[in-house]
Symmetry: C2
Subunit: 409 residues, 2 copies
Amino acid sequence: MASPDYSHHFSIRNIPFGIASGKAHPEPQVATRIQNTVLFLADLSFDSLSPGEAQDVFRDSSLNPLMTFPGSAHMAIRDSIRARFDKGGFGAFPEGSMEDIAHVQVHLPIQVSDFIDFSCSLDHVQNAGRIVINDDSPPPGFFHFPIGYQGRASSVVVSGTDIERPVGQYRSPAGDSTVVTAPSAQVDYELEFAAVVGKPLSRGKRLNATDADEHIFGFVLLNDWSARDIQALEMRPLGPLNGKNFGTTISPWVVTKEALKDFTTPGPPRRVPIPRYLEDPENTTYRVRLRAEIISGGKPTVIGEADVQSMYWTARQMLAHAASAGAALRTGDLLATGTVSGAVEGSRGCLLEVTEGGRLPVKLEDGTERRYLEDGDVVSLAGIAGDEGSGIGFGECVGKLVPSRPLEK
Amino acid sequence: MASPDYSHHFSIRNIPFGIASGKAHPEPQVATRIQNTVLFLADLSFDSLSPGEAQDVFRDSSLNPLMTFPGSAHMAIRDSIRARFDKGGFGAFPEGSMEDIAHVQVHLPIQVSDFIDFSCSLDHVQNAGRIVINDDSPPPGFFHFPIGYQGRASSVVVSGTDIERPVGQYRSPAGDSTVVTAPSAQVDYELEFAAVVGKPLSRGKRLNATDADEHIFGFVLLNDWSARDIQALEMRPLGPLNGKNFGTTISPWVVTKEALKDFTTPGPPRRVPIPRYLEDPENTTYRVRLRAEIISGGKPTVIGEADVQSMYWTARQMLAHAASAGAALRTGDLLATGTVSGAVEGSRGCLLEVTEGGRLPVKLEDGTERRYLEDGDVVSLAGIAGDEGSGIGFGECVGKLVPSRPLEK
């Protein structure tokens, strides 16, 4: 099948940052994407940066050095690119600075320092609770603060990386209580949104939600691949580990918070009093529509679409909560929202919810059906700010589930 | 009070690695400790390394580059130091290469990549279960694999760093179900042992316990400071987060596995069949005696002593389990055992167990008593291989609990 075209996500109003390489730029380095063109920033000059500063930061193989710059520096870079493009289109940039997206390889855009996966969606926790333990009451802490768990930083990979079906221990599907060691039979995806920390925060300093934006560099899509059977045996009481650590995929183009500034919107009202550090007058969040598809037999099937703004907790609140007990925030920290699910059918962010824990298979466009993912399935997440014509999107966050390599007996 | 003397932990048979600085070595760099002398390795020459190799690795501010070297390189460095000392004592080393431990500052020895805190002690989980939920059955996964959770890498600090009492949300001690936001009233320590990964393992490769030693560089003591009240509200179902992230202390001198080779010992027999990747004929572990003290009013009180070898799961098995679903192991990964507790009174590794969840205060040598830690308390963990005369120990892992900085209203 032809690759879907995401050029409309990358209008000149976006100007995200990523790490890419190509024929003319063999070393992974900082780039942006405008429509279907990748622009390598080390080939440009900027009034706001000395040549040395520009080379150092733009030739790095991760965005981390750039992310430590103040927000004004990021704005200056984006404004400069925009001004040039507005004046002369692609002709405004040196010819050698650009390569077509089809011929470019994207790389993990950030060096992940620490990764927390929160659980911000009330609909998700209620559905999951109902399905897994027949109880839809949210977890005890849910309305008081964003609940979450630390993820494994080294498990975060860039869109396009194959995900190997994990092997683990879980209770036999036969229903007796034997524990088997085998490839997971319940691999799922989770449709998520994640904030990337730029400006660090020292240990002990703590942070109010109303001051959190300054520490957010931008956002990516995130697929929190999950093995439900492995999770089930390991989770009590310390939370998920191997059921999550086998892989986490992020989209390659980090959309800056500046690009999203016209899409802020109030979040849901609070249901219980919250402490000062989480207070944010309108619980400000972003209007971003997310979508998850499974591609099988060459055909895509949209499984769910949900809105970031429907979630109970916001990015600002995730950062404030992560720092509230005195932990530091480091450049490259990744804080994800957990599965984004909405209130209605068609808005569930993972197969666990869509299939009611595997009970009600979902039909795919190629005529097959799924309870959980099968080897060869490609999961594609996408996201766009506002509506389809906004010109500011996240592109694609994609991964193929491949078979487990053989298990040693 | 006079600092305790740990020189007997650092005989010439130990030769651990750490990062230190001093008057003559103002930049933090690689060092070892012999008795009460710190030897800075960049000042020495080694037949096994070119001058350039030596300078690069020994002047680094973390052990990570050194840890990527093969085990034979670590052995050659230690053998060379030992041979010189055996021949000429301290006189065998250039005068400017040594500084007294009392005048040296230690630094975090490793750059922590990912940190997993496992829960390997059966006695600990049974006591904790009984105390917290009135049920001493081990967690569902306990006998099948080492259960654990990812910790926050940026929260790991070196011995000697103050730990600030965390602020968080928890259910009011008054017993009504109000949730308060306040400094934790239940700060505890946890006496733990941790493996440091040197040789990395790629994503997807997986690892058998019998092959795990090659990936272990060495071991440290670890204090998994915990806020029981904050943990209680947040843990269900995703595990602990802020109740742990406010600080984790490790000892400064990484004791190599080569130094511990005479202290291997079989671990406990298995109670259920385990998969190939966890099989290790004798469940080989190390004979290491750990001790936790609280220092209050200038007086130390030993609260508990327990043995690493009493735990159900071993370091090899922790590594194998961490990699079993396909996660990578990176140089600098830290894998801790969880609270080390034994079967008898006097062998509990945390106040939660010693005081039965705060019900039965413990008496301290200064005449006061404790349910949980008070501001100003110093917790000191120590550990020695074999018996007190072995000459191979971990020194001290110490931290003072200081008051929460004021909370904004």
